[in-house]
Symmetry: C2
Subunit: 365 residues, 2 copies
C-alpha cells in the first residue's frame, strides 16, 4: 500500500476504516482468565496451607476425580500437604438413620468452634453414588455449622466401591488437616461395612444411639458396639430422659462384657440432647479424656502408624483385585466358572487356577 | 547230554548243575512292584471310589504336597472324585484347648459309626506347621475311633498360611466323600481366624464349651458364638452337672440376642459328657433336626453353592496377593515403604501405587 499514491488507475480503492477485531479483547482476557482458573498443584497447596476453604474444596474434588489425568496432580497435592497434616484429632461418628446424627454433629461442631477449634466434617457413605442421596448431601440439615467460618462440611465422595470412597475420604483428611482443621469428624451410616473403614481412619469412635423400647441389646451389631470408644444416647430430653438413663445403664453393662481395649480405655456411655444441648459438653469432655490418655501412653501415635500400614496393605490388595476383575474377558469367564462350581461340576480351586492362568497370560502379552 | 557217551576224550567235561540266576526273579518282581507303587491318578481315584482308606490317604498326601509337579495330578484326582462327592453332611467342631475336643469327637464319632455311618475326621490347624504339634497329630488321643474301620482320621495339613491349609482341607473333604464317608467332621482350635475358614466349608457348626466359673459370657469371642448352630457344654458329669445346666441357661439367653439365621434355625444349647456318653445321642439328634430343616427349606443346597462361590473368590484373591508379595524384590521395597508411611513421610496410597507399578512392570518383562 505504500505506493498507493503512485497509481491513479480506476481500480484504485480508498483505504477503509480500521475494523474492530472480530473478538473483543476484553472477552479474550475473560476467557483466558477462566481457562487459567484451573489452579496448579502448587496453587492448591498454597491455598490450603493459607486456610483457603475454596482451594481445599477444589483439591478434594481433584482427589475425587475418576479422570486418570488428575491422579498425578492429586498425588502431588497430597504429598505436599502431608508434612503439614497430622496435627488433628479424628473422630468417627456412626448411628443408624433416625438417631439424629446431623443435629448432633451440628450441636457438637458448634460447641467445638465456640471453644476455638476448627472443625471439618467429612462423610463415608458408599451408597451415595447409587442413591445420589449422600448423608451429608443435604447441607441445609446443618444450617448453623455450614455458615460457621471455622467449620468445613463436605459430603461423601461417590464411588463404586467402599474401598474407593474410603481412600478418597482418607486423603481428604490430610488436606483438611493441612488447611488448619484440628478436629476432623467422619460421619458414616450405621449399616454395613463402612464402619470398619471409618474405624480404621479415626482416633476415636463414637456410636450414636437413642433409647429404644424393649431390649436395648436386641438387634445391635456387636461388631460396631465393640469398636465404640463412646456411646452417646441422643434425644435425652423431655419424656425421653428417664428412658435414656435406663439405656445408659444397659449399655454400660453390655460394654463391660467386651475385652479390654489396647488403648487402656474403658468405653463410656453418656446421654445428651442435640436440641437442648444438654450433655454436649460432656461428650467433648469424655472425648478429650480419651485423647489425654491415648497421647500419654503413646497409643495415639502407635494407632496412627498402624492405620497407615493398614491402608498401604488394603490399597495394594484392593488394586490387585481391581486389576484382575476388570481385565477384559475375565467377567464373562468368571460368571461361567461360578456357575460350574455352584453346580458342583468343577472344584472352586481348579476354577480359580484356570482363571488366574488366563489373567497372567493376558498381562504378559 | 544225549551224546555224552560218544565222547571219551580227557577234555570231556561233565555238565555242571544248572546255576541259579544271579538276581532272584522274586526280588525283581518285588522291586518292580515297589517302583510301580507310586499310583497313577486313576489308581488313586479307583481306590478311593472302592472305599480304600490307604489310597485316600495317599491322595490327600498328594493334595498336601508343595511340589509343583504334583499339582496337576492332584487336580485330576479331585476333578474325577467331584461327581462322586457331595453326599455327606459336614460338621465343624471348635472349642478352646481344655474343653475335651478329642474325647468328644471320639465319643460322637463312635456313636455315629455304631449307627451305621462312615465318619471322617479332618482338622484345620494352621499353627501345626510351626509347632509341629497338630491338634489331631497325636492319634492316640482317639484310640477307639482310629481302630474303627468305618472311621478315618487325618491330622491337619501343614502350610504357611491359613488359606493354604483351608484349601487342602476343603479338597480333602471331596476325596473323603467320594470314598464313601457320609459324616465329615472338621475339627479346629477355638482361636484365631481358622473358625471362619472352617465355618465356610461346613453345613453345621458346633461350639464345644465347658461350664466355667463366673460370668459365662466373659471372654467369649462373639464372632464364634454367632457362627454356632449348636453349643455343647461338655464334661457335664459328677459335680459338674449343676454348673453345666446353669451354663446352658446362660448360653441360651445369650443366643437369643443374636439376629435370626438365614437357615431359619434357632441355635440350640445342650449338655453332654464325652466320658459317661450322657447326652451324646442328643447332640446327634439336634444335628439331624438341623439337617432335616435345612434340606427341606433348600438352605442346605443353597449354602453349599454359596460356599463354592466363596472359595472361588477367596482362592483368586489369595493367589493374586501371593503373586504380589512373593515377587522378587517386592519384600524389601515394601518394608521400606511401610516405614515411610508409618512415619507419615509418604501417603499410604501413593506408596501402594508405586509398589504396584513396580510389580506390574516386572510381570510384563
Amino acid at each position: 500500500m505504500t505506493n498507493q499514491n503512485n497509481h491513479t488507475s480506476a481500480l484504485h480503492e480508498k483505504d477503509g476504516v480500521q475494523q474492530p477485531e472480530s473478538i473483543s479483547k476484553a472477552s479474550i482476557a475473560q476467557i483466558t482468565k477462566l481457562r487459567r482458573k484451573q489452579p496448579t498443584a502448587d496453587d492448591l497447596v498454597n491455598g490450603i496451607l493459607e486456610g483457603n476453604k475454596t482451594m481445599l474444596s477444589r483439591a478434594i474434588t481433584l482427589i475425587e476425580s475418576t479422570n486418570a489425568n488428575h491422579l498425578e496432580k492429586a498425588n502431588k497435592v497430597i504429598a505436599d500437604c502431608l508434612p503439614h497434616a497430622n496435627k488433628s484429632v479424628r473422630i468417627g461418628i456412626t448411628g443408624v438413620p433416625g438417631v439424629g446424627k446431623s443435629t448432633f454433629i451440628e450441636a457438637f461442631g458448634k460447641h467445638l468452634t465456640e471453644k476455638g477449634h476448627k472443625v471439618a466434617v467429612l462423610a463415608v457413605d458408599p451408597s451415595s453414588s447409587l442413591s445420589h442421596g449422600s448423608i451429608l448431601g443435604d447441607k441445609t440439615r446443618m444450617e448453623e455449622l455450614v455458615k460457621d467460618e471455622n467449620a468445613y462440611i463436605r459430603p461423601s465422595a461417590s464411588g463404586d466401591t467402599l474401598g474407593g470412597v474410603a481412600r478418597k475420604t482418607r486423603e481428604s483428611i490430610i488436606l483438611c488437616e493441612a488447611c488448619g482443621f484440628d478436629v476432623i469428624i467422619i460421619e458414616t451410616v450405621g449399616v454395613g461395612q463402612s464402619e470398619t473403614a471409618v474405624h480404621s481412619m479415626v482416633d476415636f469412635f463414637l456410636l450414636l444411639k437413642i433409647a429404644g423400647a424393649g431390649d436395648e441389646l436386641q438387634g445391635i451389631k456387636r461388631g460396631i458396639m465393640e469398636m465404640a470408644d463412646l456411646i452417646v444416647i441422643n434425644k435425652a430430653d423431655g419424656d425421653n430422659i428417664k428412658k435414656a438413663k435406663l439405656a445408659k445403664t444397659e449399655f454400660n453393662r453390655a460394654l463391660h462384657l467386651f475385652p479390654a481395649k489396647n488403648s487402656g480405655w474403658q468405653p463410656k456411655v453418656t446421654t445428651c440432647s442435640a436440641i437442648t444441648k444438654d450433655g454436649i459438653d460432656d461428650v467433648w469432655k469424655i472425648t478429650s479424656d480419651y485423647f489425654n490418655l491415648a497421647k500419654s501412653n503413646n497409643y495415639f501415635e502407635a494407632k496412627r502408624a498402624e492405620q497407615n500400614r493398614y491402608w498401604l496393605t488394603e490399597t495394594i490388595n484392593e488394586q490387585l483385585k481391581n486389576s484382575f476383575y476388570s481385565q477384559e474377558g475375565i467377567a464373562p469367564l468368571l460368571k461361567q466358572y461360578q456357575e460350574a462350581v455352584q453346580n458342583h461340576e468343577l472344584s472352586p480351586f481348579i476354577a480359580a487356577q484356570t482363571l488366574l492362568k488366563k489373567y497372567f497370560e493376558n498381562l504378559e502379552r
